[in-house]
């Protein structure tokens, strides 16, 4: 039964990537004609079939978004916390995501400092916890530099930006994943120590640097 559920969720995720992120209406159905999971999805009202094409219904989209969120959070967890080998991330995450229920998802998201993208740079759909709705009682492991305490050190987990301009500045400063940085002050600008050098950066830049506290 579990396998069936997994298959359903994987299908939803694929459809999400193709239709929502790929901005297409439907996806080719011919290969999956006899798949039981497709039939399940149609029965649940998540998916419609039209002219040999598959598409997500509105409720299907909501469900798919949740699956995608769990998948990408799982990937982040594997990379950032368990420092899983890159090659294994996908496989482990694929198994792990199906075990994440709602509260667990919230906790993982909080632990990781509410990441906005997966390790491959794809967006993680925000959950209710990301909007700061619930009170946080968990101690974060990964967080944006803006949330690190002064005089605390951290190891850069990842840079939360695809902006080339900002990335080039980060490269110039040597702020890259695995770099150790020490936060010296936050006001009026952020001052960080990277190796033997000190840099001042603004809040905007600091919020792109996600660190793992050490």
């Amino acid at each position: 039964m579990l396998e069936r559920k997994e298959r359903v969720e994987e299908l939803l995720e694929s459809l999400w990537i193709i239709t929502v992120e790929g901005q297409k209406d439907k996806s080719d159905f011919s290969l999956l004609k006899d798949d039981e999971a497709v039939k399940d999805l149609v029965k649940m009202g998540y998916v419609f079939i039209k002219e040999n094409q598959l598409g997500l219904t509105e409720t299907g989209k909501m469900e798919a978004q949740k699956c995608i969120r769990r998948h990408r959070l799982a990937e982040r967890l594997m990379t950032d916390v368990f420092v899983e080998k890159r090659k294994l991330i996908h496989e482990t995450s694929c198994k792990f995501e199906h075990l994440i229920h709602r509260d667990l998802e919230k906790n993982i998201c909080t632990l990781l400092g509410h990441p906005k993208t997966c390790p491959h740079g794809k967006p993680i759909p925000p959950g209710s916890c990301c909007r700061g709705a619930s009170k946080e009682y968990l101690k974060k492991i990964i967080m944006p530099l803006t949330e690190l305490e002064i005089k605390k050190g951290g190891k850069v987990a990842y840079l939360q930006t695809g902006n080339r301009d900002i990335l080039q500045k980060m490269i110039a400063m040597g702020v890259l994943p695995k770099t150790e940085i020490l936060l010296l002050q936050k006001f009026p600008s952020y001052v960080i120590q990277v190796g033997k050098s000190q840099f001042a950066i603004d809040k905007e830049m600091a919020s792109h640097i996600y660190v793992r506290q050490v």
Partner: protein, 484 residues
């Protein structure tokens, strides 16, 4: 299900494979190694791409195809992927050959931390400005030294001597006026340049070089970034701004270092409007020296105009907010030799740049007076000048102020010496003159750097703001019955 593009495996080597393919395509007649070229091409360096296009036009399409192929494998830009690998390699080498001993925090680090801490940083900034700019440049440079050169050397010896020589050798009154008259080339142009501006600017550049060489400027940038963001600039703009206190013309040139057009425009405008150059500053400090209340008010008003106009422009001008990062170098004790060399080169550049303009200004004033054109322009200025509560004589100060902003300030100084101005009037005049049109040199620089439309626009804008603010200051002072 999802196709993992960063999957470890052969794809991980796609960078290396692409690089080797590109290397194979390049011929070996470039001055750089093929690997270096390949790396730069992968990072989409436009200059290198153009160079290869020029030299091997047939392969560029192929290279572009390879690059876009590699790009599809990575979520981040390729230069980032390359930087990661380069860093790993550097670390591997360093770990094998370098041992780092932990050092205890020294005095320099402690002072540095104090300079950057908001609670101690701003008082320290104030102290640096007070002693460096006010006490040293203003009081000592513009007051004591200028006073000595002007009064003792020029007024007592040089000017009477020059007048005597020229009166006896040149019989024509008009030519006498040109050389040694009230606005003569020698008695006014050269005197202002040598006796007034030169010492003030020298003292300013001396202080600036010291501040620059200690490594204080990046710390100042980091302190001020948050405030500057509000006016559409980043902390980096602090360098042209501080330089503007020396020479706004030079500072306008330095706005080139700002990354976006928007920042350059805002900086140019603020430099034209609300940053007094050292020559002006010197004279204004001398003028207001006897009126401490007026001086505080003057500084407050100028600062408010600076922030308000900056804030308004940042709101009105479209464009992205600038992002800010700057390296904070260790604090160093400046080297006297370097300071002197720097100051000397800067002063030399500045002096030869302005001397012709001063002399030209003298000639233009002489011509303007001769043709009565100036009388007409002064007449035009009389109305606004009296409207802001100044005596009619001040009109010519504003006109001359255009030829050099500091020239105008110096003219005001003469009015003050003659006892023609009250405390209130002094304040209003100083405010108007600080905000007033940039000097000829700065106007030309604005036109050159920002294009003539923007340049003229900025100048007209400053003209309007200067009179509007002065008018309001006068109104407020009168209505509240304040006399300074």
């Amino acid at each position: 299900m999802q196709f993992d593009k960063n999957h470890d495996g052969p794809i991980e080597h796609s960078l290396e494979i692409a690089l080797e393919t590109i290397e194979g395509l390049l011929h070996d007649k470039y001055s750089l190694s093929r690997r270096a070229l390949g790396l730069l091409l992968l990072q989409e360096d436009q200059e290198i791409k153009d160079m290869v296009k020029e030299s091997q036009p047939t392969i560029i399409d192929h290279i572009e195809k390879i690059i876009s192929g590699v790009k599809a494998h990575y979520a981040y830009p390729i230069e980032y992927e390359i930087a990661l690998r380069r860093r790993d390699e550097a670390e591997r080498i360093i770990n094998r050959v370098v041992k780092i001993k932990e050092k205890k925090q020294g005095v320099a680090e402690k002072i540095s931390a104090l300079m950057m801490h908001p609670l101690t940083g701003f008082p320290l900034l104030f102290l640096i400005l007070y002693f460096g700019l006010y006490k040293f440049v203003g009081v000592f440079g513009a007051g004591t030294v200028v006073g000595y050169i002007e009064e003792t050397i020029y007024d007592s010896y040089l000017n009477p001597l020059l007048v005597k020589i020229f009166s006896s050798f040149i019989p024509w009154r008009i030519l006498q006026d040109l050389m040694v008259g009230e606005y003569g080339i020698l008695t006014l142009g050269l005197r202002y340049a040598v006796a007034l501006i030169l010492p003030i600017v020298t003292f300013f550049f001396l202080v600036f070089s010291v501040i620059e060489d200690t490594g204080y400027l990046p710390r100042l940038a980091m302190l001020i970034d948050r405030t500057f963001k509000k006016i559409g600039l980043s902390g980096r703009a602090v360098i042209p701004m501080v330089l503007g206190f020396g020479c706004a013309t030079m500072a306008t040139l330095v706005t080139r270092t700002l990354p976006t057009k928007r920042e350059r425009l805002i900086a140019t405008m603020l430099l034209a409007l609300a940053v007094p150059c050292s020559a002006q500053l010197g004279v204004i400090l001398a003028l207001l020296g006897g009126h401490p209340k007026a001086m505080v008010l003057w500084a407050g008003i100028i600062m408010m105009v600076f922030l308000f106009i900056g804030f308004l422009t940042a709101k009105l001008l479209p464009g992205e907010r600038p992002s800010f990062y700057i390296e904070i170098p260790p604090l160093r004790l400046p080297h006297l030799g370097n300071i002197l060399t720097k100051t000397y080169t800067r002063v030399k550049w500045y002096f030869w740049e302005i001397l012709p303009l001063f002399l030209l200004a003298s000639v233009l004033i002489w011509l303007g007076k001769l043709t009565r054109l100036f009388d007409f322009l002064i007449f035009l200025f009389t109305k606004p000048v009296t409207m802001i509560g100044l005596p009619e004589e001040a009109a010519q100060v504003f006109l001359f102020g255009f030829f050099r902003r500091d020239y105008g300030a110096a003219g005001l100084y003469d009015l003050h010496k003659d006892g023609l101005l009250t405390g209130d009037q002094l304040l209003v005049a100083c405010v108007a003159l600080t905000l007033f049109l940039p000097c000829v040199a700065q106007l030309l620089m604005n036109l050159k750097e920002r294009g003539w439309k923007t340049g003229v626009g900025i100048s007209l804008f400053t003209l309007v703001v200067a009179f509007a603010v002065a008018f309001m200051v006068n109104l407020v002072l009168n209505n509240l019955g304040i006399s300074l």
